[in-house]
């Protein structure tokens, strides 16, 4: 593992005894795209401000390339920020905004001009140098804010919900551009958002946060497929979350039946929650079904039908289906064992990882014999 560029160790932040961050530990490696994901007020922006140097921590260490930087002021840190509302200086032109940081460093004028031109080129606004900020659209302001930050050649770029003010189409386009930009520059991006779709699309690694804690971290696929608890499962994507009970390793009961699953290492008879993604459910005729549900309503979403249904025990089901169903009819649903994900109540990320390791190695030994 390379030397981490940013590290937070046991970081706690309190305002008037009200905890904002609770014992945060996170490590950012150089050259990766990280996302802090969580609902508003979960502390994700506070982490960003901690790294940028706009706020100090109550306890814990903030490290940059192995050096403790708690006491280093914001203007002496080799990180730059793209602000949520862009914070472009309205009394300067586009070029003056981008050049701002360089002029402070007393960079020679020809070099400033060259680097400003390069930065504007990079965000595809090469001809906009003389414009007023007020004459730019939201998307253009967004790009200038990025240009103003990357012209400083930071090792880490912090992005505070930079896409939230853009319309849906532009937002999608900017997701591609940001990802592309990060890969071309090869620097670390730390992106803050409450939009799970954005996080899944762009990140190498996601930190899911709630109420001042990092609940789970991992690749988008890991977090989507194996959410650690109810909150993460509910927050990331759409999901059916059902109460159930562990019968044995790889056997779980819910909805009045017993099913094969892919989880183990949980004590027998422990109450658990089962997550099934709506797109993993397949409609079938009741004879071949694992469960029978009654269709309540359905919405046409363009590329699929979103079907709401209820099972015999009154559990609600959300199903994504290419084909429509008829309201009020009883239909069967089926799924594969690996589509089920079992979550224990109150399990922490470390415990979850440890448990996963025990039976995944078991899997391998079983294959060998």
């Amino acid at each position: 593992m390379p030397q981490p560029i940013i590290e937070l160790r046991h970081v706690t932040k309190r305002y008037d005894d009200h905890p904002i961050l609770k014992n945060i530990n996170l490590t950012l490696e150089p050259g990766k795209f990280y996302t802090l994901l969580g609902p508003s007020g979960c502390g994700k922006t506070t982490i960003l401000r901690t790294i940028a140097g706009f706020t100090d921590v109550t306890e814990g260490d903030v490290l940059f390339a192995g050096q403790r930087i708690n006491a280093v002021p914001a203007n002496k840190r080799n990180v730059n920020t793209v602000f949520q509302d862009y914070a472009l200086f309205p009394h300067m032109t586009v070029a003056e905004n981008v050049a701002f940081g360089l002029t402070l460093k007393k960079t020679p004028k020809p070099e400033i001009e060259k680097r400003v031109a390069q930065a504007l080129q990079l965000v595809q606004l090469a001809d906009y140098g003389d414009r007023e900020i007020s004459a730019l659209s939201g998307g253009q302001q967004q790009r200038i804010a990025i240009a103003r930050a990357i012209v400083m050649e930071p090792q880490v770029l912090l992005l505070d919900e930079p896409l939230s003010a853009l319309d849906a189409k532009l937002r999608r386009q900017m997701q591609y551009e940001l990802r592309d930009l990060q890969q071309r520059l090869g620097i670390t991006f730390l992106f803050v958002t409450h939009d799970q779709e954005e996080a899944l699309a762009m990140s190498d690694e996601i930190f899911v946060m709630n109420q001042g804690e990092v609940l789970q971290s991992g690749s988008p696929v890991d977090i989507y497929d194996e959410p650690i608890n109810h909150f993460v499962a509910d927050f990331i994507g759409e999901s059916n979350i059902l109460p159930g009970k562990m019968i044995a390793d790889f056997q779980v009961a819910f909805g009045g039946h017993q099913f094969e699953c892919a989880d183990a290492g949980i004590p027998v008879n422990e109450p658990v929650e089962i997550v099934i993604r709506p797109e993993d459910l397949t409609l079938t005729d009741p004879e071949h079904a694992k469960l029978t549900v009654t269709i309540d309503t359905q919405l046409f979403r363009g590329d699929y039908y979103e079907i709401a249904a209820t099972d015999r025990l009154g559990n609600d089901w959300l199903i994504h289906s290419v084909n429509p169903a008829e309201d009020g009819t009883a239909v069967g649903i089926t799924f594969r064992p690996q589509d089920l994900h079992v979550m224990r109540f109150g399990e922490k990320e470390a415990e979850f990882d440890a448990r996963l390791e025990t039976y995944e190695t078991e899997d391998e030994t079983r294959d060998e014999t």
């Binding site: 602000f83 472009l88 009394h91």
Partner: protein
């Protein structure tokens, strides 16, 4: 009520404007073209612009108004900046505004007491061994009191401008490597300049025509245009000349308003 009738709401203020703003200004301009014998004439203007006394008086007024504005600004900007960072800033701001609720004459008389031979200021000077000085009826005391009176009118618009300033601009500036001073010079001050300009308008223009203070505190050593107008209307009864000076004052105000107005051209700054 239909949309067409909304102009009705403007009637009270419209009447006010016509009776107490437009009519008096028109009357002043009209009066300025008549001499003592009620004959139409341009002589008031030719007298004004040919007389060394009047021109010197004008220069004096502008100079003292400038000094008062300068000192007010030098005190008000740091004060507003400091107040803005306090926790109970609205309360402290109220304390700053409080003196404006007291009549200017009362404040002037209070200063006469403080600055007089046996006043508080001279008692203090005696106490520290300097001995009593002539403070009242000096130019310095005039500027001091005028500045004191004008300070709240300068603090308020600057405070509001600082309040309107998006803190993200300050963070952005720090983020890009600016020190506190660089942030102030290149971001905070330029962005709060409209507040300073509003303060200059609120202070400079009234300072041009100050007249009670010049007599009560300045001892009539400084003759401003305001004093001249008062003399012409109440003592020499030369309303024509008084009005002419009034017109000059109005023009001076228009010039100041234009100079401190928003001049930034749209679409690109000149290089």
């Amino acid at each position: 009520m239909t949309k067409r009738k909304t102009w009705l709401y403007f009637i009270p203020y419209g009447l006010w404007l016509a009776l107490f703003v437009i009519a008096p200004v028109a009357l002043i301009i009209y009066q300025s073209f008549f001499d003592l014998g009620h004959q139409f004439t341009f002589s008031n203007y030719s007298t004004y612009f040919q007389s060394a006394t009047y021109l010197k008086m004008t220069l004096n007024s502008v100079w003292y108004a400038f000094l008062i504005t300068l000192f007010t600004g030098l005190i008000s900007y740091p004060t507003a900046y400091f107040l803005h960072q306090l926790k109970h800033r609205q309360f402290w701001l109220l304390l700053v505004i409080l003196p404006t609720w007291i009549n200017i004459l009362l404040k002037a008389y209070a200063f006469i007491g403080i600055f007089s031979q046996a006043g508080l200021a001279n008692q203090f000077l005696t106490f520290i061994g300097i001995g009593p000085q002539q403070i009242l009826f000096t130019n310095a005391s005039f500027i001091f009191v005028a500045t004191y009176i004008q300070i709240p009118f300068m603090i308020l618009p600057i405070f509001n401008a600082l309040d309107d300033l998006n803190p993200a601009f300050v963070n952005a500036s720090r983020d890009l490597g600016a020190s506190n001073w660089q942030t102030f010079r290149r971001v905070i001050f330029p962005l709060t300049l409209p507040g300073v300009k509003a303060g200059v308008q609120a202070v400079f223009i009234p300072s041009l025509s100050l007249f009670m203070l010049t007599r009560l505190i300045g001892g009539n050593k400084v003759i401003t245009l305001g004093t001249a107008i008062e003399e012409h209307f109440l003592t020499t009864m030369n309303w024509g000349m008084g009005s002419t000076i009034g017109v000059v004052l109005i023009i001076a105000m228009i010039i100041v308003m234009t100079l401190t107005g928003d001049q930034r051209p749209k679409g690109g700054t000149p290089r």
